[in-house]
């Protein structure tokens, strides 16, 4: 299967420390599996998706691998996504 198969989510606390990584992979139907994410984060991403690469629309978890790629391009004081599980702080 082409494209990203999994990425890792890190929650950031007020001191800037990353939580242990949470894996986001693909479900059998090809959609992104958000079930391991903290409820509020999964809830937000499931409802609103993430901005696509040309910033012209939203991508949903049903877009699977492409959704994971778009998540990697985001940044947020509260969350972080990377393609490796190594904590940085």
């Amino acid at each position: 299967m082409e494209g990203l198969q999994k990425i890792y989510f890190f929650q950031i606390d007020s001191a800037g420390h990353e939580s242990n990584p949470v894996e986001i992979g693909l479900a059998p139907d090809g959609s992104a599996d958000l079930s391991q994410l903290p409820p509020k984060v999964g809830d937000h991403l499931r409802t609103f998706g993430v901005r696509n690469f040309t910033h012209s629309g939203q991508v949903t978890f049903k877009d699977g691998s492409y959704f994971l790629e778009c998540l990697l391009a985001t940044d947020n004081p509260s969350w972080r996504f990377r393609s490796t599980p190594d904590k940085k702080s």
């Binding site: 082409e2 494209g3 007020s14 001191a15 800037g16 509020k40 984060v41 809830d43 937000h44 499931r46 409802t47 609103f48 993430v50 901005r51 696509n52 690469f53 040309t54 910033h55 012209s56 939203q58 691998s65 492409y66 790629e69 990697l72 391009a73 985001t74 940044d75 947020n76 004081p77 509260s78 969350w79 972080r80 996504f81 990377r82 393609s83 940085k88 702080s89």
Partner: protein, 476 residues
């Protein structure tokens, strides 16, 4: 009563002479002269030094204005803000870490220690981290492909461009986007020239490297900084403090980390249902109004944070705000068509979309008064500078009005955004025209908020709504 904004307000602002101009004395950053540089690199460093100087001047002016306006009541909040801005601009950054995916997300995080020993978390975004895309022929097939143009600073300190091809679905999406843009580009260049009163050849768009908005290269860092500066000018407190400074050989923004997180489904439903009765309604409307003032084109649901502890919002990722604009015909409140100024790329603001769900949701009194005071400051300064005030009235003007601090700051803010240096090393007159026009349009938007206390409800083609009601399942 509606106050009018004269047609050539921007031009008058740029031409008026202040009687008591006092620029803060500050050590100026000069481009390095002890090495022989290629012309492009020398020009880049000269331009970055110019922007650094402008931003430093703006910060000083805004800080002085804040102190003078509160001369009898210097708030600890105001002092703290000044201290934070100084630290963001001048203090060393420790504990640096790359954020996100290497090679994809160029943001770093770090900490800054202020003069009183507080540790502030910051995000550092280099100017050269902006996503620029270009079409180039593939070296093997000869067919055009979309490439990411990366500005990389080598070990010799010189910035060069590297091109990395996009692959997969991103590549297809970008190719489609570029083809659509190519079809519209000619029209956009002509429209820009006509709107700003400049020659077609002077149009600022760089056709060789296309951004994801109708803005030119290097805009992102300027826009991020300007969003914070305008937030300080209005006192809305919905944009995190942001400084523009040199970092690792290039300009970067250093932004204070904001508390909070993107709205959850449940939180958004509550805001849509409760509207102006929600505890966070005041801050959300301030952010909606700020998006209108800033011509925000990228305030999607992941780009603003809500802190339930303080019921406040902060808008992040403002790099796609304050781009070029144009005039369009839209129905006014009375149903008749009116010509208004909107950004070339459509507005995109989830706060504007949420707040327009309720007709009784307005900007709070304190914020409206801030805008009225700002408008009056600038108006009275112009009258004073043009000797149109009676002596008794002129003598009653506070020092920060007589010195035109708000006016100077606003002009410098839009100069920093839009003025460009030409190959001869001087500011291009066409870019000054653009900056002046954008000041006028900003003041018109300010005026709209004073009168109507909320942003206009624009047709979908000028406000590309995220579709919140549908996302929440609230559509009938």
């Amino acid at each position: 009563m509606e106050q009018t904004v004269p047609q050539a307000f921007g031009e008058r602002l740029s031409q008026a002479e202040s009687k008591e101009v006092k620029r803060p004395e500050k050590k100026k950053k000069r481009p390095e002269t002890d090495v022989i540089l290629a012309p492009e690199e020398a020009a880049r460093r000269h331009e970055e030094a110019r922007l650094w100087n402008l931003a430093s001047g703006i910060d000083e002016t805004l800080g002085q204005r804040a102190i003078l306006r509160n001369i009898e009541n210097i708030t600890s909040e105001g002092m703290e803000k000044g201290r934070r801005m100084e630290a963001l601009r001048d203090c060393p950054i420790a504990n640096r870490q790359e954020v996100g995916e290497p090679g994809v997300n160029t943001t770093e995080t770090g900490t800054i220690e202020t003069k009183i020993g507080e540790s502030v978390r910051v995000f550092i975004k280099p100017q050269n981290g902006e996503l620029r895309i270009t079409l180039r022929p593939d070296q093997f097939s000869g067919k055009n492909r979309a490439y990411r143009a990366l500005q990389v600073i080598g070990a010799d300190g010189v910035m060069r461009t590297e091109y990395r091809p996009f692959t997969g679905r991103k590549a297809n999406e970008l190719l489609n986007y570029l083809e659509r843009r190519a079809a519209d580009d000619q029209l956009t260049v002509m429209e820009l020239a006509a709107h700003y009163g400049i020659a077609y050849e002077e149009s600022p768009l760089n056709q060789a490297e296309i951004g994801l908005r109708v803005i030119d290269a290097g805009h992102g860092a300027r826009a991020e900084y300007v969003a914070s500066a305008i937030d300080r000018l209005t006192g809305f407190d919905v944009i995190p403090n942001t400084a523009l400074r040199e970092d690792k050989g290039t300009l970067a923004t250093v932004q204070e980390s904001a508390a909070g997180a993107p709205l959850t489904y449940d939180q958004t439903v509550e805001f849509v249902k409760q509207g102006p009765r929600h505890s966070g309604a005041k801050s959300l409307m301030r952010l909606a109004c700020m998006d209108y003032l800033l011509n925000s084109t990228d305030r999607h649901m992941n780009n603003f944070l809500y802190d339930p502890a303080t019921h406040t919002f902060k808008g992040i990722d403002n790099g796609y705000s304050n781009g070029y604009s144009h005039m369009v015909d839209v129905p006014g409140p009375d149903g008749r068509n009116q010509l208004i100024n909107v950004p070339l790329d459509p507005y995109l603001s989830a706060p504007m979309e949420i707040t327009e769900q309720h007709d009784d949701w307005f900007l709070d009194d304190e914020a409206v008064n801030n805008l009225k005071n700002l408008f009056d400051e600038i108006k009275n300064y112009l009258l004073f500078a043009e000797n149109k005030l009676e002596p008794t009235a002129a003598n009653k003007l506070p020092r920060y009005v007589r010195e035109g601090m708000a006016f100077k700051a606003l002009n410098d803010i839009y100069s920093l955004l839009h003025e460009r240096t030409g190959p001869d090393g001087h500011i291009k007159p066409s870019s000054t025209k653009i900056a002046s026009r954008e000041v006028t349009e900003f003041l018109r938007r300010l005026n709209h908020l004073i009168v109507h206390r909320r942003p206009p409800k624009l047709p979908q083609q000028y406000h590309s709504r995220v579709g919140i009601a549908k996302a929440l399942g609230l559509e009938p």
